[in-house]
């Protein structure tokens, strides 16, 4: 049962990602990205990360992608034109992607024992466990990340401010 759901949503995720690249209209691409984000959240839920799953929906599918769709609607972006692409991209890109995929796959495969094992459908970590790790063991990285986000917000404000 768990495996069936995993395969279903894994395929949905891949299909959404491919559709994102193949669609010519930006709004269809944005909607495919929402499908990708949401199916990822189901995969998180299967691994027992309930908080992460819902946070994924709220933050990525609900907030960030709404802003994407909002901007596309506001700019009224039209359909893209199909081009043949540059020859260099084909020559360097395809082998590059294949090489990267092989390296990543082999790395994950050799290191798979040191990652620990999470079984599908095993609910082990609760939200309070997660917050304990986040706010005790990883407090410094967490706070540094929030400062990084604050800097990004300030940067956006500075860029958006009108010159007087």
């Amino acid at each position: 049962m768990n495996l069936a759901i995993f395969i279903l949503f894994g395929l949905l995720c891949l299909g959404g990602a491919l559709n994102l690249l193949l669609q010519r209209h930006p709004i269809n691409s944005a909607l495919s990205l929402i499908v990708v984000m949401s199916s990822l959240s189901v995969l998180y839920l299967l691994l027992g990360a309930e908080f992460l799953a819902v946070a994924q929906i709220i933050v990525y599918s609900g907030a960030i992608m709404v802003l994407f769709v909002f901007v596309i609607m506001l700019l009224n972006a039209g359909e893209e034109e199909r081009t043949h692409g540059s020859r260099a991209a084909y020559l360097a890109g395809v082998p590059g992607v294949l090489a990267l995929f092989t390296v990543l796959a082999s790395t994950f495969f050799t290191l798979r024992t040191s990652f620990g094992n999470a079984r599908l459908g095993a609910f082990v970590a609760t939200t309070s466990d997660l917050s304990r790790v986040l706010f005790r063991n990883l407090l410094l990285p967490f706070e540094v990340t929030s400062i990084l986000i604050l800097v990004a917000i300030l940067g956006a404000v500075v860029l958006a401010r009108k010159e007087h």
Binding site: I27, L31, I34, E50, F51, V54, A55, I57, I58, S61, G62, A63, V66, L67, V69, F70, M73, L74, T126, T127, S128
Partner: protein, 348 residues
């Protein structure tokens, strides 16, 4: 055999809750028309059935039989998808809302469809997905009024979602859990005195939640997305027949959901306002159904408030709306979170 009974009972439960919810949606519309009628010194619907009680059925039948127009210039897939997203998102939330004591019968939780550990977040998540229904409907209609309405609505919902999310943090801090049953359980010791709004001193958070919820559901005084004097009908201008009815139902279903969540978070959920002062009367069945009565009564008060506000308050201007959300509600919500955490850290 046991698993069969479990599945049958669960299906029955889902069916009963869905039917009651949809009926509640239909009769909320009637409640609104009746009350706004009285506020404006007229009768409201009174012809169909006794006191106009069959009016929702007549409305439903009328909307079913209307011609389903499909304007030529619309972007068809999204035009059809948008009302489905809006309605399904507003119906899903009821699935995690508990409306009575934790009573199990043949292993089935009688008064809740799904007891989720992160129930509160699930509701927030589903609400944030519901924005797409409105955003896509306006864009796919290919109509400038629709687009303006949906842009306004999207901006408004994103802005007020922050204040809404921050206002519930105080409650979560007090309960130490995101599970809705845990949040109610800390509020039912001394009746009305231990509700979060009074005993938990979350009254500020309650008013932030109330205001943000009005904005989230696009209701007066925040109904700019469908401001009829400037935008004809906003995002659902091009919709007709059942597709329009789906938006309409989604709006009222969202009102009920928001009322349920406010009841659970701030008004003690299904707990009696009298606490233990009220002696346990009747049999087991009465004692099991009494909490449901309290829950429904509280949600009804909330819906009454919705209609009352609609009947009395004028609409905000757009810049006032944004200024209010970002410069007033959000800072107050942050101060409330900080004050609650400080109090809990020193006294909790």
């Amino acid at each position: 055999m046991n698993i069969l009974i479990f599945v049958l009972l669960s299906l029955l439960k889902v069916a009963v809750v869905t039917v009651i919810f949809l009926m509640a949606v239909a009769y909320t519309v009637l409640l609104e028309r009746k009350l706004v009628g009285r506020i404006q010194n007229r009768w409201g619907p009174s012809r169909v059935g006794p006191f106009g009680l069959l009016q929702p059925l007549a409305d439903g039948l009328k909307l079913f039989l209307k011609e389903d127009l499909m304007p030529t210039a619309v972007f068809r897939p999204l035009f059809i998808l948008a009302p489905i997203i809006a309605l399904s998102c507003s119906l899903i939330s009821i699935g995690v809302i508990p409306f009575g004591e934790n009573i199990h019968w043949h292993g089935v939780d009688m008064f809740q469809i799904a007891d989720v550990n992160v129930g509160l977040l699930v509701i927030l998540g589903v609400t944030s997905i519901g924005v797409y229904g409105i955003a896509l409907s306006g864009w796919s209609s290919n109509n400038k009024y629709s687009l303006l309405g949906s842009l306004r609505s999207t901006a408004q919902m994103i802005s007020y979602e922050l204040a809404l999310g921050l206002s519930v943090i105080g409650v979560v801090l007090r309960a130490g859990s995101l599970r809705l049953r845990d949040i109610v359980n800390i509020q039912n010791t001394h009746g009305i005195l231990s509700w979060n709004i009074f005993g938990g001193i979350q009254i500020v958070a309650f008013f932030i939640y109330l205001t943000a919820a009005f904005a989230e559901t696009n209701r007066t005084p925040f109904d700019l997305p469908e401001a009829e004097s400037e935008l004809t009908a906003g995002y659902h201008t091009e919709y007709s027949s059942m597709k329009f009815a789906m938006f309409f139902m989604a709006e009222y279903a969202n009102m009920i959901t928001v009322g349920c969540v406010a009841t659970l978070l701030f008004l003690g959920g299904w707990s009696s306002p009298f606490g233990n002062l009220l002696p346990a009367f009747g049999g087991v069945v009465v004692q099991a159904l009494l909490p449901v009565f309290w829950f429904v009564a509280k949600v009804f008060c909330f819906l009454f408030l919705y209609v009352w506000v609609r009947g009395t308050l004028p609409r905000f201007r757009y810049d006032q709306l944004m200024g209010f959300g970002w410069k007033f509600l959000l800072p107050i919500a942050i101060v409330n979170v900080m004050a609650t955490s400080l109090v809990l850290a020193f006294h909790g």
